[in-house]
Point group: D2
């Protein structure tokens, strides 16, 4: 995820020193970060800009050929495609950018560098890049993104039809409309969630999530956040939807929201039927215990996508 922030120093301090992501490299005004269990060059880019916005959300394809194949599919469907040449984004090969029906900028890539961490910070485990627990909250890896839009059904249908995302859980309001959908192409219960924007905006960002191995680690995160003075949005609590333990917090430099996320369930069933939460079950679905989330203004979408 590439985030633009009006206060780069404050944002770097938050994501690196408080959250505990590792700074991999700086180049061209961009700061590239990843968690200790992320092997790719970066899972987060921070860049200075006049206003906070999400530049793009990137997805890796299953093969190199898939990038071109998706370009063709998207082109036929009338999408405006932008080519991103290898190296334009540090550590990344040829890629394409385009918009969702909600005007969220997505990127597809396959080739990506997996640089080892420098000596002294490198994990002795080859399945990790950096050492865990070296500073801050220290999540393991990126988990998912959550986007807001004026018409979730439109975006979810497009994700399903274009990329094969399966719906795993959803909120269906009494008027029959889809308030939110959780979708995945992996065994995670969601790689992406799409929610109705409280203000009717088409292309907003709700949060990026990083994963912690244990519920307890989320409580330790709350300790660290409270001592650091970073205000928490909500939690620790547990979602009914996803069964994950969560803590929401906002980058003081940009207003972008982070979800610290642990537990949850995986889906191995090829015939999974989406779990439907009705309007009267919505509060329990959003927060099984630990926090009120439904209708909390503090939990509305944060920043827009855009140039």
């Amino acid at each position: 995820v590439a985030l633009v922030t009006p206060d780069l120093d404050a944002s770097v301090q938050f994501w690196r020193d408080v959250v505990g992501l590792e700074e991999v490299e700086r180049s061209g005004g961009q700061v590239f970060l990843r968690a200790w269990g992320d092997l790719e060059h970066h899972t987060l880019i921070l860049e200075a800009g006049s206003e906070a916005r999400v530049d793009h959300v990137a997805w890796r394809t299953k093969s190199r050929a898939d990038v071109a194949a998706f370009a063709e599919i998207l082109g036929h469907a009338g999408a405006q495609l932008t080519e991103v040449k290898a190296g334009e984004e540090l550590g990344q090969g040829d890629a394409i950018r385009f918009s969702t029906p909600g005007a969220h900028c997505f990127e597809l890539y396959y080739d990506v560098a997996k640089p080892p961490a420098p000596e002294g910070r490198r994990s002795a485990l080859k399945s990790n890049s950096f050492r865990a627990w070296s500073h801050g909250i220290s999540p393991r890896r990126i988990d998912h993104v959550n986007l807001c839009t004026s018409n979730p059904e439109l975006v979810c249908d497009w994700l399903s039809a274009t990329f094969g995302f399966r719906m795993t859980e959803l909120i269906r309001l009494d008027d029959g409309s889809l308030a939110a959908g959780w979708m995945a192409v992996t065994n995670l219960m969601h790689d992406i969630a799409v929610m109705r924007d409280a203000n009717g905006e088409p292309n907003r960002f709700h949060h990026i999530a990083y994963f912690l191995d244990n519920w307890h680690d989320v409580m330790r995160a709350a300790d660290i956040l409270q001592e650091s003075g970073v205000p928490r949005d909500a939690g620790p609590g547990k979602h009914g939807i996803s069964q994950a333990v969560f803590l929401y917090v906002t980058d003081p430099g940009s207003g972008h929201r982070l979800e610290l996320f642990s537990g949850g369930y995986l889906i191995f069933d090829p015939d999974w039927e989406p779990i439907v939460w009705r309007e009267d079950e919505l509060a329990a679905g959003q927060s099984w215990w630990g926090a009120e989330l439904a209708g909390v203004a503090a939990m509305d979408s944060t920043t827009p996508f855009g140039d």
Copy 2:
């Protein structure tokens, strides 16, 4: 703590099956319970009555002679004393009852039975009575009581002067009055807390607390409570005062409140100075993270003391 409940069956189901205390014995309409790490005959008595009330809170003296010695001190001070003969309360020796300046009924005893748990439910560890984790939330032991009164300063001064309770933390309002005090005669940061009653009542009960070894166990408790349908009052969260992780829940049978309590700090300093929380620090003192507590009506005192 001896609690009277208008729905004994519902209360037993809550404290035994959901909370996971062990039923030691039933006699004379009373149900005697303790946690797996409690060695005394009981730490909780449930008894049927037309209305929920706290019958008494009992404290063990350091020696047998102390019971009589305190009787003399209290008598000289004008307290009305009731003798409780050995065996009147099951498993307990000679005791005395009397009231705090807030009309909370207290009991002092020294002799007490420490019956082993029955075969099959007995812990292989001699330092425990029952096996841990056998059912429900399964706290280790009783921790403390929290009482409400119209004049906390009066009650705290009396606890200090009469029994030697030391103040460890307190809330001092801007008008100079004491809103709440935490006091101990052990290394716990509090054996008792006394808080100003929201409705000006002199003799109310706020909660009894049972201790869990790990913060994580409080999250597991939230899972169990949510599945059991018992409504939580607040939490999981962490107190600034005491540093303990908490979860408040109410016995559906009686309205008595339970705090599930973990972590916190111990005090070994003979020259400990009470930590003072001012009115503007009160919210953080009550909830360091995880829940709003200050001024939450749901967190007001529950039942009265009385006959």
Copy 3:
């Protein structure tokens, strides 16, 4: 996994009362069990027999047509196929059975019942079947199997060529031979592991693993096991390979081994290169901390596959 045990009562007591799996149904001398997060009819079958053995390990295909497709592939390759008609195994549709090159009996099925748990034991979460934490250790779901054989390379190559299992980590001895391989078709770092049998047997069972959400839950499991008198084989500890926290324990009724398994990492990289552990790294790979595993006789394979 279908296990035959010489002492069915002791085995049921272990898997149901100590481990905390749920008994779904009994029929024809078989006891069908699953964890609270398992939605299929069963993930474990216990059946009485004169000697402990593994009857079969079953895998679900991605579609109904895949069962027949694999039957054709396997038949062409000369495998002896046994048809299992819908209903022969309770809750399961048409299936086939056949042997690995190591003579481990495998089953493929697609159709399977997903019965809800009975009222009172059913989770309020639709993504679970039973309530969590109701008794015993209470793992979430089945995780993986680990098999022993005289020639791991042969079995791993066959798993890769026939079913598309990808190798994720492996142990390569100094003589160039493969001592063990971890393989997956999901995002788990392994659905199956294949290890060299200490006694050169072709078709042995090492363990079945059930998953717990938190490392702490593995410590709680150790408490429960120690109180129940069930001897632990090794752990709690953490694997270097998989990064999972583990605890090995043996069913006292049968000698079949269970691994309680938590944490670990997921693989989303389409270009994952297997992590190679050399002979001198083997001890750290097997146990990153907490237990010696390399060359521990107590950790040899347990029971054979067979009729």
Copy 4:
């Protein structure tokens, strides 16, 4: 505890950077450290010396007058007393030093500085000094010491008669001798343990223990230690005696041993009877689960007391 180390840099790196104690001050070749929950000036002193040894173990009295009172008692009993004038040990008032019957050097003091942590590292909680979780393992506070001697009964009797330590648990061998005793003057189940030295030495150090709030934190500690390359002696595991979760590790600079210690039980009973572990129960008493401790040479005493 004041430790002398032949490699001060390596020892500081271990206790400060890996264990995560806070360096309070350096003066006169001594490095003063404390945990984030320790309020006194220091709980550990490191000092360079040609050989590793324990300089002294210090205990705080309950009042200022107690220091002189104990000096008189000890003098009458024939102990050789050394006065330590206020300021000779940084942050400490007048103190006395003397030896146990096993020639372990003890110190008694009352006056002690409680300096706040510097801005930026100071906890927002007044009940802590430093911020928790800022680096390394990050234990809360010092917990206890464990000493070895040739005649544990002699030392335990002296601790009881001189200072009023109560025995809480003990190991009694088949020949009637006391192999080890756990003793306390606080509600902790032990402030000190005294064990028979494997080599018959009178005055050896077994370990100093620091406390962590949660069992899980001990597992996180094992991760950190394994990545740092510091060899663990034993654990994580759980003691039968004390019920605490433990992890033993040795300072690579000095050979002094640290126990990371969590959980355990408190004793509030004035009539506590020591729990007796017989020779055939010794293994379970030392390790309830997770590690073999009985007779493990790696777990023998480490360094001597002495000048």
